[in-house]
């Protein structure tokens, strides 16, 4: 199971808890995890990555294992600790006020 932590605004939008567990299969990547997340919560389509280009929205970041994965290619395998569920993948809204 992959553990994914989603930001507060997306928790309320999806009526989901802070951390959700997803069954993604072997060699999970950002793309496969986000595909699984959007399949379970279709209202998150367009909220994390663009509908058409599938590019990460500019104010959204992906962190795991104390690393910034935001600029990794979408099919790059996630760290083993994320793949095994030992560590969560963090989807983070950029720090800002407002």
């Amino acid at each position: 199971m992959i553990r994914v932590v989603i930001p507060a605004h997306l928790q309320t939008l999806a009526r989901a808890s802070r951390e959700v567990e997803l069954d993604v299969g072997s060699e999970p990547s950002l793309r496969s995890v986000l595909d699984a997340l959007e399949t379970r919560y279709p209202m998150l389509r367009g909220a994390i990555r663009d509908h058409v280009t599938q590019r990460r929205r500019p104010f959204v970041r992906f962190f795991a294992c104390e690393r910034d994965l935001s600029h990794d290619a979408p099919d790059t395998p996630l760290p083993d600790a994320v793949a095994t569920g030992a560590e969560p993948l963090l989807i983070v809204g950029a720090m800002a006020g407002g």
Binding site: H9, L13, R45, R57, A94, G98
Partner: protein, 371 residues
């Protein structure tokens, strides 16, 4: 007894304010979608329990929410606003080409007859339509493709399509307004469009009476006379008696003819309301006094409505979608401010009282008259 439901969009959520026909005592429900910008909430004229809300965030983009029970519960529907074909470019602020990029939905206009049909005016300016209750959205590309689209330029708030008027007498006719392109009319259900800006003058553009390029802030009509349109432009309050083919200024004795909203009394098609703002560089009311101005003569002669409104130390603005009227016998008028107050008048503007004083900055106000 009949009642009203006031739908308020703010910078940090939506609120639903309800009262009976007396409009003295109010119930405040919200915030819905707390923390999100709610540019607009509007109910279907064909089914008052069907509401649509535009929910957006700089972080997480656009959502459309739908309620089928008058705003008690909501569910997200479709949020894919994809321009038709290759979007091309419009002009950036400095006149250079800039690709069309979807930012948000400014205005939702439900069909007059079908609760599942709703139009969306978006930034960068385009018109979308859903015929399945908001699940899927399709652009009406004839507007951007009219030929002038590549010359459109954003106003300071972005290049937004903020006004959609549906003609109750002719289902094929509709009007839209775009900052800073101008007003447009379709006579074939939105397939083709023509600019309707003759008579507008804008010193901020190189050709002051150009076909497009005018910063129209809002247009309004009375349902009984859809050929008569009223406009609050960046500067100037304007009137057309020929469905936009020509315009004339009706600013008259207003203390400032800069402003954002304009609306028409529900039962008196020559009675208009505006909220003058000091200037385009000082977006607050003149003389620190919050005054709605009413004309009972279709423009030119205006009276200040002040009873119950702050007349000192007031520096709020009233945005373009933040004024509405109800259809009760004694017409109610409502507006919201950037300071978070929502004011109501149950006597056509003669007297005012705040419904609520301390909401987040108000972006939009709509009202439904309930049986």
């Amino acid at each position: 007894m009949s009642g009203v439901r006031v739908l308020v969009g703010t910078r940090k959520g939506a609120f639903v304010l309800t009262s009976d026909g007396a409009r003295r005592d109010w119930t405040i429900d919200g915030p819905h979608f707390a923390g999100w910008e709610i540019y607009h909430v509007k109910g279907s004229p064909a089914d008052p329990n069907r509401l649509y809300a535009s929910q957006s965030s700089g972080w997480f983009g656009q959502q459309i929410q739908r309620s089928d029970d008058g705003g008690k519960t909501w569910a997200p529907v479709g949020n894919a606003f994809v321009y038709d074909g290759v979007p091309g470019t419009h002009q950036w602020y400095d006149g250079t080409p800039h690709p069309w990029e979807f930012a948000r939905v400014w205005h939702l206009e439900p069909s007059l007859t079908d609760p599942n049909t709703v139009y969306a005016g978006v930034e960068d300016a385009a018109l979308f339509r859903s015929t399945d209750g908001g699940q899927s959205w399709h652009e009406l590309p004839g507007l951007r493709g009219h030929g002038s689209g590549s010359a459109w330029q954003p106003g300071a708030g972005g290049m937004c399509l903020h006004t959609i008027l549906l003609d109750p007498a002719d289902p094929q006719r509709m009007f839209v307004a775009i900052s800073a392109a101008g007003a447009f009319r379709s006579d074939d259900g939105g397939t083709t469009w023509q600019p309707i800006n003759r008579g507008l003058r804008s010193p901020q553009i190189p050709d002051q009476d150009a076909e497009v390029g005018h910063c129209v802030h809002r247009i309004a009509m009375h349902a009984s006379r859809p050929n008569v349109l009223f406009m609050q432009k960046h500067w100037d309050v304007m009137r057309s008696d020929d469905a936009g083919d020509s315009w004339r200024e009706i600013s008259g004795n207003l203390p400032s003819d800069f402003g954002f909203p304009i609306d028409v009394h529900a039962h008196e098609p020559e009675t208009l309301y505006v909220v003058p703002i000091k200037s385009d560089s000082e977006h607050f009311v003149p003389d620190a006094k919050l005054r709605v101005y009413r004309s009972r003569s279709g423009g030119n002669e205006w009276e200040a409505l002040t009873n119950g409104l702050p007349q000192r130390d007031c520096y709020v603005n009233v945005l373009r979608d933040a004024m509405a009227v109800d259809a009760l016998d004694s017409c109610g008028v409502y507006f919201g401010t950037t300071g978070g107050q929502v004011y109501a008048s149950a006597d056509a503007g003669d007297s005012w009282a705040p419904i609520v004083r301390d909401l987040p900055s108000v972006l939009s106000v709509e009202v439904q008259t309930l049986p």
